[in-house]
C-alpha cells in the first residue's frame, strides 16, 4: 500500500491505514483511502471514481540500452507496388502482434511453437526445433523449424501471422554464422537434434545477440545442394574436412564478383527501417 500524500492532508482517519506502506519502484497507487475520505465527508452516496492507472517507471533499463529489433518481415521488398499495400499490411501485423507475442528470434535460435490442431490430441500441437530459415514479407512471413524425432528429420514451415499459431517461445536466443541454415539437412544429425523438453535459456534484453560460431560437420558428399559454391556463401560448414583446396578453387568458378558492384541491385533500407521501427513502436505501445 502506497501513499497519496496530497489527499491525506484532508483526512485524519486514514492514519491507521498508514501502517503498511511500501514504496516499490516509485509506484503511485491510489487506494481505498480516497474513497473513505469522500464517504466520511457527508455520508452522501458518491459516484464511483475509478482509481488512477499505475505508472510503473522502470529505472533499471534506459530506453537507449534496450536492443532495437525490427522483425525482417516489416521491411517491404523493393517492388513496383503501391506503398499503401504495405501500410495496410503493417496495420494488420501490429494488430495480430497485440494479441500474440511474437518474440525476437533469428535463424539458429531454438523455438517452441504451439499451434491449434483439430486432429491432435488436446487440440494443440507443440513442436520444438531450431529455426533454419526466416522468409516471406508482410503477413505471409514464415519460419522453418527443424528437429530430429525418433531418428526422423522433421521440418515444419510455420506462418508467423497464422491464427492457428497460439504461442511462440524462444528457448534459446542466438545467431549463427549464416542467416540460412538449410545445410543442416546434409549435416550430421547431432546438429539438428533439439531436446523437446528443453528449458528456456535466459537471455538479456540489452546488448548484442550471442553468435554461435560452430562450424558444422557434414555427411559425405553428395549433398542436396553444392554448399561450397559462392552463391550460398555458407560460413558455417567445415569444408576443409570434405573438400580439397583444388575443389574449393573450382567452386569459385561460379562466383559472380561483379554483383557486389552492381548499383541497380543496391537497396538501402536504413531510413526505411528507422521510420517503420518508430511507427511500429508507437503503435505497439498505444
Amino acid at each position: 500500500m502506497a501513499v497519496c500524500t496530497r489527499r491525506l492532508d484532508k483526512v485524519m482517519c486514514s492514519i491507521r491505514l498508514l501502517r503498511n506502506v511500501k514504496h516499490q519502484n516509485e509506484r503511485f497507487l491510489s487506494t481505498s483511502l480516497c474513497r473513505l475520505a469522500l464517504e466520511s465527508d457527508g455520508g452522501n452516496p458518491t459516484t464511483f471514481t475509478p482509481p488512477s492507472k499505475p505508472v510503473i517507471i522502470d529505472k533499471t533499463q534506459t530506453e537507449a540500452s534496450l536492443r532495437k529489433f525490427l522483425s525482417p518481415e516489416f521491411i517491404p521488398p523493393r517492388q513496383r507496388t503501391n506503398p499503401l499495400k504495405f501500410t495496410i499490411e503493417r496495420k494488420d501485423m501490429i494488430q495480430r502482434r497485440k494479441v500474440l507475442n511474437i518474440p525476437e528470434f533469428y535463424a539458429g535460435s531454438i523455438l517452441a511453437a504451439t499451434m491449434a490442431d483439430p486432429h491432435a490430441t488436446g487440440k494443440v500441437n507443440r513442436f520444438v526445433g531450431i529455426c533454419i530459415q526466416r522468409g516471406g514479407h508482410g503477413l505471409g512471413a514464415t519460419f522453418v523449424l527443424r528437429n530430429i524425432i525418433s531418428g526422423q528429420g522433421v521440418e515444419i514451415c510455420y506462418e508467423l501471422y497464422n491464427p492457428r499459431l497460439q504461442k511462440l517461445e524462444v528457448l534459446k536466443l542466438e545467431k549463427r554464422l549464416d542467416s540460412n541454415l538449410m545445410y543442416l539437412r546434409d549435416a550430421l544429425p547431432e546438429y539438428s537434434t533439439v531436446d523437446p523438453d528443453m528449458k528456456p535459456v535466459p537471455h538479456s534484453v540489452t546488448g548484442e545477440v550471442p553468435v554461435n560460431t560452430t562450424r558444422v560437420r557434414m555427411r559425405p558428399k553428395p549433398w542436396s545442394k553444392r554448399w561450397e559454391r559462392p552463391k550460398y556463401a555458407v560460413k558455417g560448414i567445415r569444408f576443409d574436412l570434405y573438400l580439397t583446396p583444388e575443389k574449393m578453387e573450382h567452386a569459385q568458378k561460379w562466383a559472380q564478383p561483379w554483383l557486389e558492384y552492381d548499383m541497380l541491385k543496391e537497396y538501402d533500407t536504413t531510413e526505411l527501417e528507422k521510420r517503420i521501427f518508430a511507427e511500429v513502436q508507437a503503435e505497439m505501445t498505444k
Binding site: H119, T121, I149, G151, Q152, Y158, E190, L241
Partner: protein
C-alpha cells in the same frame, strides 16, 4: 565373386559410403561398396541401434556414424546420381518402409519401389495408396510422409515414408516408431488400425 548391395529399406547413397572422410583426403567415396553380408549385418545393427533409441538421439546418431567408419572394403564401382525430391511420390520412387513388418525390414538387394500410385494424377502425397515392388512381390502401402514440402504448418520429412497395408486397409506390421503427421488422423475411418499402431504424431 560379384558383390552387390543388399538393402531392405531406402538407404540414400551417402549411407552406402563407408567411412568418414579423413581430414587430409577427400577421395571419391562412391567408389567403395560393401559386400552383401556385411552390409546386411551392418544395417541390422544400425537399425537395432536406431530402434533402441530413446530420447538421446545424439548418442545413437554418434554410434551410428561411428559404426559406419568400421566398415571398409573395396569392391566394384557402383556410382549413380540421386536427384532431389521434385514431385512427391510417383512411379519408380524408392521409399522407406517404416513399420516393423517382416517384408519391410528383411534385407533385399533392391530398395522397395513404387510401381503405381492410386490417384487421378500419378503423384502421391500423404494419405495416398501406392503399390510397391518389394522383395520380388507386389504390396500395397500408404504414404505417411514425403520429402517434398507441402502445405504450410504441415510437417515435411527427410525421407519418403511408407507403411505396408493390406487391401482392406489394415497395416501389415504391428508398430510404427517413426513420427506421423497429425493430418493423417483425418482418415480415422479407413485407417484407424494404422493410426492406432502409430507411436508418435508430429
Amino acid at each position: 565373386m560379384q558383390y552387390s548391395i543388399s538393402t531392405s529399406f531406402m538407404i540414400p547413397t551417402w549411407k552406402r559410403i563407408l567411412s568418414h572422410p579423413k581430414p587430409h583426403t577427400a577421395f571419391d567415396l562412391r567408389q567403395n561398396t560393401i559386400s552383401r553380408s556385411s552390409l546386411a549385418a551392418g544395417y541390422r545393427q544400425a537399425q537395432q541401434e536406431l530402434t533402441k533409441a530413446g530420447p538421446n538421439m545424439v548418442l545413437i546418431s554418434r554410434s551410428f556414424t561411428g559404426f559406419l567408419t568400421q566398415l571398409s572394403s573395396l569392391t566394384h564401382h557402383n556410382a549413380f546420381s540421386v536427384s532431389a525430391a521434385a514431385a512427391a511420390i510417383q512411379k519408380m520412387t524408392r521409399v522407406r518402409v517404416v513399420d516393423n513388418s517382416p517384408q519391410g525390414t528383411t534385407p533385399w538387394h533392391r530398395a522397395p519401389r513404387v510401381i503405381h500410385v492410386y490417384t487421378k494424377n500419378g503423384v502421391g502425397k500423404v494419405g495416398d495408396r501406392v503399390l510397391l515392388a518389394i522383395k520380388g512381390g507386389k504390396k500395397k502401402a500408404l504414404i505417411v510422409g514425403h520429402k517434398m514440402p507441402g502445405e504450410r504448418m504441415n510437417p515435411r520429412f527427410d525421407s519418403n515414408n511408407v507403411v505396408l497395408i493390406e487391401d482392406n486397409g489394415n497395416p501389415t506390421g504391428t508398430r510404427i516408431k517413426v513420427p506421423l503427421p497429425t493430418h493423417l488422423r483425418k482418415m480415422e475411418g479407413e485407417y484407424s488400425k494404422l493410426l492406432a499402431i502409430a507411436s508418435r504424431f508430429v
